[in-house]
Amino acid sequence: MLFHPAFPLLVVAFIALAVPATCRKVISLLAPIISAIFLFLLDPETVYHMSFLKDYHLLLIRLDDISFLMTLVICLITFLFFLYTWHQTYNMQGVAALVYAASAIGSLLSGDWITLIFCWELMAVAAVALIWLSNRYAFKAGFRYLLIHFFGGNLLLGGIVLLIGQNQYVIGQLLPSQGAAYWLVLAGLGLSAGFLPFHSWIPDAYSRVGLGASVLMNCLTTKVAVMTLIRVFPGDQNLLIMGIVMAFWGVLYALRENDFRRLLCYHIISQMGIIIAGIGIGTPLALNGAVALTIGNMIYKGLLFMTAGAVVYATDKTKLTELSGLAKQLPGVAFIFFIAALAIAGMPGFAGFATKPMILSAASAAHMDWAELLLIFAGLGTFLSIPLKMGYFLFLAPPKEGQENPIKRKIPIHMYWAMGILTVVCVVIGLFPQILYQMLPYTIPYTSYHIGHILQECQLLVAAALTFYLMRPIVKPHAGITLDFDWFYRVPLRNFFLGLSKGIDKIRGLFWDDIIRMVKKASVWNRNPYRTFAGNTENQPVSFDPDHYRAPMLNNVLYPILVLMVILILIYVTI
């Protein structure tokens, strides 16, 4: 129990509040390392429980392959977060990040529903704090994040309460036959994982938050949600359908986006869709693939966010219409970007090729061929949006005529260090995927480096690249936003609530004076209770004055004797 990997992060978060600035940065950097050490110190298959109320045991740690792997990667990314944001003055953003990571680890390691919901809500709070602290302009985005996540948290809580009522304490599979609990938990978890139509918080929040924070946030809430989905709904057909819809939706919107950070965020939804589709297929190979793709996403998507952040840091611009041809000026960033982008697209030799095809193979092995086809289709969109659209228009395209040098400041060395470490991990997984495969939950022999596979994938990608290049003018970024489901709660819902509160305020205005008058009367009554109860109000002070009411000493001796008498009389009467 003492070695719960979330403890070092929490303890350091507290300490960081009290310690001077440089010290904070150093200990924040060390905290994830200590967490990782704690993780290795836990015996495999540990289960630690603690009794809570009568009959209920909290399973604080339930270690299995999935949580081990995820916790390890979370520690890595947290470490890189602090390395990446080393140049910023440590406002409380670091504390929020530590608490966020700690609660994410807590959710992953929890074995029962109550611990899960506690850590879940803590994650939401810490994430909102992180959004608000990392960027002054993200206030409203953070507020929308808060609304959506508390709504989702309440749905999850409702489901959990129903489950506990059915005496199901441990996190385990849920079936539609369990009625409302199933749907509530599905909705609650899915909202955090990015289910349509409640996915808009991902592009909204992650694109507006600070540069390092988006790296961290990418790998926490959505991934934890999806790993919990694996435990609770493996093989569920609803997930398969939702996953495929999400895969398409995300990529379509990503292709349209102008702001490249938003592009990456929409793409998160697409990747989440593929992972969820994998969970929906449900065979061990598919679940392995889902876990592998999640880990892969944390790594290469995180790397993409880092490069995007580096570009924003250097140029202060986030729109593709305003930037192009940065490969000449930021060659290192461009190189790292393309490694990550090709990884995410699934080019053989890069990390994505080790992870995504697992799900596709699983689909075809389970004879869900339509799913496989659709996933190939959606996967193509990934290639189109990130290496092609973003990579070409941001880095490779020739700069517009007359555009002055957009680079405002040099990218600090520690950002390169952070990106470098993650690139190395990415490349290693790409070239030696067996390292990842060993740590996956189900031992199934799988190899992706199989000549037919490689050739087919390469054909797919090269053909797509050709088409893209020929259709460049159509795909060119344009200034403008795309409406998404968040329109519903940003325009009509908002106006509804504003109108409602204005209406209620009007009603209050009608009664307010009377209410104030009543309160004033009550407070007079209350200011000196003796006066109110005594009746004779003439020579009694308005406010309670102890000296006025202090009884003479005799009374203090009389009362005990009185009590004595009462006791004796009552006893004699009752005997």
């Binding site: 009794s51 809570f52 109320l53 009568k54 209350n526 200011r527 000196n528 209770p529 406010s543 309670f544 102890p546 202090r550 009884a551 000493m553 009374n555 203090n556 001796v557 009362y559 005990p560 004797i561 009185l562 009590v563 004595l564 009462v566 006791i567 004796l568 009552l570 006893i571 004699y572 009752t574 005997i575």
Partner: protein
């Protein structure tokens, strides 16, 4: 030495108290550290006692090898060990807190050392009360504690001396009532040992002298534990006494007397089966209910922060007699939890009051607007204490009130349940009012009127901040770990459960 742990708990503070004047004359610097060290050691020893008793069963420590009923003994069972630990913790933290209150100069050496002497003597007395195994030893320690307390509380100025003098008069009456009861019991049974008496007394309860003894015992202990209407000494004494002294005494002394009453009524006199005891319990239940409502209403009316806390104490202390009157197992568990929780919470609140007084020289509630800006940690700690008093999870106050409520509902005492709920609401009124003033700088009057009287690097000196923060953390920890505590306390109360059944 460890085998003598029970007596060391009383001996160490006593010896330190006697040594203090000498040391303060010779090496004043040492003085500040000696008392916390002594009390810290005592707390550790009580912790060891608790551990020992939980693993090996109740410990009867015979003085001088004389076996009872001829010799004196100290009895340590899980209940008294827990209370000893709590008292020790409160005492240690408060004495560390008190360090900044005492003057530095050599000229005021007398006052300086006198505070420590009296504090340690009160601590001796209270530890002795908790551990005593004979009723006359109990009286001795009651007197030690009370007399030292009279002196300690008089150290706060002119008004403190007068209030303390009134306390002397009433308190002596109470102690004398207790002594009279002891005399009657001894005359009737020839024994003073509690374990012995628990077999000898219950059959004798129909005898007229015994009935009188019980009545006067309850009256005497009621005076000392501030049961309505015998509470009148309390508001004055707590308002004018020096804040660290009040923090310790408000936190522990009245509760320990309630605990003694609990011991007598439930363990020595046989518990609620007997008609005499039933009537007594009924009366103190009614008085407690009145006290709870009275205390809460009066607290709302107060402008002085410390007096408000004193009336709040009148209400909260009366939860203990209320729990005794309810009598169901859950209520008894709630009694123990309330004792522990309120000990920590009240001492924390008085430490906060002391801190604010030290920093701003002001205890008038109307001038607390916006205190958060100047003293954020104090306000944060006050927030935790207020949550515990109102009864919000995860603080210990919530768990105490929870058990009391479930106990009163399972014992079908609907009236008491209603009183409990109303008192929580009334508590909320005056605590939330203060929280609003602290944090949001508005009140009926919206101005900020605080002056800083004493300068310190942080908002308060570290020796004042650390005990407060520690106490706040402990309140939360005890709350979260109340499950484990209940397992400890329950194993001792369960022989009492009449009519069987769980919670």
């Amino acid at each position: 030495m460890i085998t003598n742990a029970p007596v060391l708990i009383v001996l160490i503070p006593l010896a330190t108290a006697l040594l203090t004047p000498l040391i303060s004359y010779l090496v004043p610097k040492l003085m500040r550290y000696l008392a916390p060290l002594a009390l810290g050691t005592v707390t550790l020893l009580s912790g060891y006692n608790l551990y020992h008793v939980v693993n090996h069963g109740a410990w009867h420590y015979h003085f001088g090898g004389w076996t009872p009923p001829f010799g004196i003994e100290f009895v340590i069972d899980p209940l008294s060990a827990t209370i000893a630990v709590v008292v020790g913790l409160v005492a240690t933290l408060v004495i560390i807190f008190a360090k900044s209150y005492l003057p530095e100069e050599r000229e005021n050496l007398l006052k300086f050392s006198l505070f420590y002497v009296l504090f340690l003597l009160v601590a001796t007395g209270i530890f002795g009360i908790t551990l005593a195994g004979d009723i006359f030893t109990l009286y001795v320690f009651i007197e030690i504690a009370s007399i030292a307390a009279y002196g300690l509380l008089a150290m706060g100025g002119y008004k403190a001396a007068v209030s303390s003098f009134r306390y002397v008069l009433i308190g002596t009456v109470g102690a004398s009532f207790y002594l009279l009861a002891v005399a009657f019991i001894y005359a009737n049974t020839g024994s003073l040992n509690m374990a012995d008496l628990s077999t000898l007394l219950p059959p004798l309860l129909t005898d007229r002298t015994m009935i009188f003894a019980v009545a006067i015992l309850v009256a005497g202990l009621g005076i000392k534990s501030a049961l309505w209407p015998m509470h009148t000494w309390m508001p004055d004494v707590y308002t004018y006494g020096p804040p660290p002294a009040v923090a310790f005494i408000a936190g522990t002394m009245t509760k320990v007397f309630s605990y003694v009453l609990f011991r007598f009524l439930y363990f020595i006199l046989g518990g609620p089966g007997n008609p005499v005891i039933d009537t007594v319990l009924f009366i103190i239940g009614i008085l407690a209910a009145i006290a709870i409502l009275y205390g809460s209403i009066m607290a709302i009316a107060q402008k002085d922060f410390r007096r408000m806390l004193a009336y709040s104490s009148v209400a909260q202390i009366s939860y203990l007699p209320l729990a005794m009157a309810i009598g169901s197992p859950a209520a008894l568990v709630g009694l123990i939890l309330q004792l522990i929780s309120h000990a920590m919470t009240k001492s924390l609140l008085y430490m906060t009051a002391g801190g604010i007084d030290w920093k701003t020289g002001n205890v008038n509630v109307t001038r607390f607007n916006g205190l958060y800006k100047i003293m954020p940690i104090t306000c944060g700690v006050f927030l935790v204490a207020a949550c515990s008093m109102i009864g919000l999870p995860p603080t210990s106050g919530f768990f105490a009130k929870w058990y009391l409520l479930t106990g009163s509902l399972s014992g079908h005492q609907l009236l008491f349940a209603i009183v409990l709920v109303i008192s929580s609401l009334l508590n909320a009124i005056y605590f939330l009012r203060l929280l609003e003033r602290f944090f949001f700088r508005t009140g009926i009057d919206d101005k900020i009127d605080i002056q800083i009287v004493r300068f310190s690097v942080r908002e308060l000196p570290l020796s004042m901040l650390v005990p407060m923060i520690t106490m706040a953390i402990l309140i939360v920890i005890v709350g979260l770990g109340s499950g484990y505590l209940v397992d400890f306390a329950l194993q001792y109360i369960s022989p009492l459960i009449l009519g069987g059944g769980g919670l």
